[in-house]
């Protein structure tokens, strides 16, 4: 990617003449070219077929939504809900990659048989769900204890260790 960006001009003088918008457009063009060459023949193929790209990007979006919720909300229960969103993004990713590479990974790593399927990703998702259950129980208990102490569940009031 960096090499592609550096190829936009032959000499240093030409590079200096490119404006910011032109450089962005060139970089975007190279990115799209790369995508067409490697990830599909048309942009619509992203919407008309399923492989790991779609699951990965959707789970990225969900993870960033959860990050936004954890960072921006001031209610403790809302923060826990956003945390569940992030955990589910991880679960999507693990099961999707297990679906796509479970057979190949197993054949490469452990055995010479043709069609042996590992379910390591699914087992790890089960453990993630277990940890999410523990986190929900302890988190709600902490929120209730905090409410008994400070009569509030707003995290702005949790400032005893601020300074």
């Amino acid at each position: 990617m960096l090499a592609m960006l550096l190829q936009t001009g032959e000499t240093a003088a030409e590079v200096a003449r490119i404006s910011g918008a032109e450089a962005f457009a060139t970089a975007w063009g190279y990115m799209m070219q790369h995508w067409f060459a490697n990830a599909g023949d048309t942009p619509m193929r992203f919407f008309t077929s399923i492989d790991y790209h779609q699951y990965f990007i959707v789970s990225c979006f969900i993870f960033c939504l959860g990050f936004y919720g954890v960072a921006a909300r001031r209610n403790a229960i809302s923060m826990l809900l956003s945390l569940e969103l992030m955990l589910n993004a991880v679960n999507i990713n693990m099961s999707a990659f297990n679906w796509y590479w479970g057979p190949a990974v197993t054949r490469a790593a452990f055995t010479s048989e043709e069609a042996v399927i590992t379910n390591l990703g699914q087992c790890f998702s089960v453990f993630t769900i277990i940890v999410a259950a523990a986190e929900a129980a302890v988190g709600l208990a902490i929120i209730i204890a905090f409410y008994r102490m400070r009569k509030s569940i707003m995290l702005d009031d949790a400032n005893l260790m601020k300074w």
């Binding site: 619509m44 959707v58 960072a71 809302s78 569940e84």
Partner: protein, 227 residues
Amino acid sequence: MATPLQIFFSYLLVAGLLVGISSLIMLALARFRPHRRLLATLAVLGFTAFVWSMATLTQPGYRLLVCYFWLFTAAVIGGGVGCVTIRNVFHAALMLILSLLGVAGYFILVNAEFLAMVQVIIYIGGIMVLFLFGIMVSQNIIGTQLKQNAPQSPWAAICAGVLFMVMFFTGLFMTLKPALTVTPDVLGNNTGSVGWSLMATYALPFEVASVLLLMAMLGAIILVRKD
């Protein structure tokens, strides 16, 4: 091959799911003006219908799979956006349940039926109901018209956007070696294989996880106990 009747009924099923999702989106946008609400719902429906028709036209082999994928994506993303934007915490939890249902659909699409059932029974039926009870217990202290976003929410949005752009381009240009093609008869019994793995290969992590759950239960009881 699916018969025309089966295709017709699956279209009917998807139409019903779309109506449900759009009504939930309208509920999520309830604080906007009615015509804006209708416009947003129509936009989401139009986008989904466009993707649906594209998938149907160009990929006859697994068109239903692709269409279900985008339907579940609408549920997951709509529920997630609702979960982090709605002020009423109870409605936010309901939106999170919609998102988790979409994730259960993903699990079915990726041949993880056991995980889908665990998602519905334990995640939605256990954890989310625990959350809903916690919200209802503290409903009088939350309030529905409370301002939910902290002053740093624009900065949080910028950070999340940058993080998403980094991961988005990583995912877009991720070209890894192709997988083996697996026929469904090789897959066998998913629940049985996961159970075998949990009880034989990953028995020690499984026991550690059960101890963790026990510790969480004891800790929760001790934390909320009145002295």
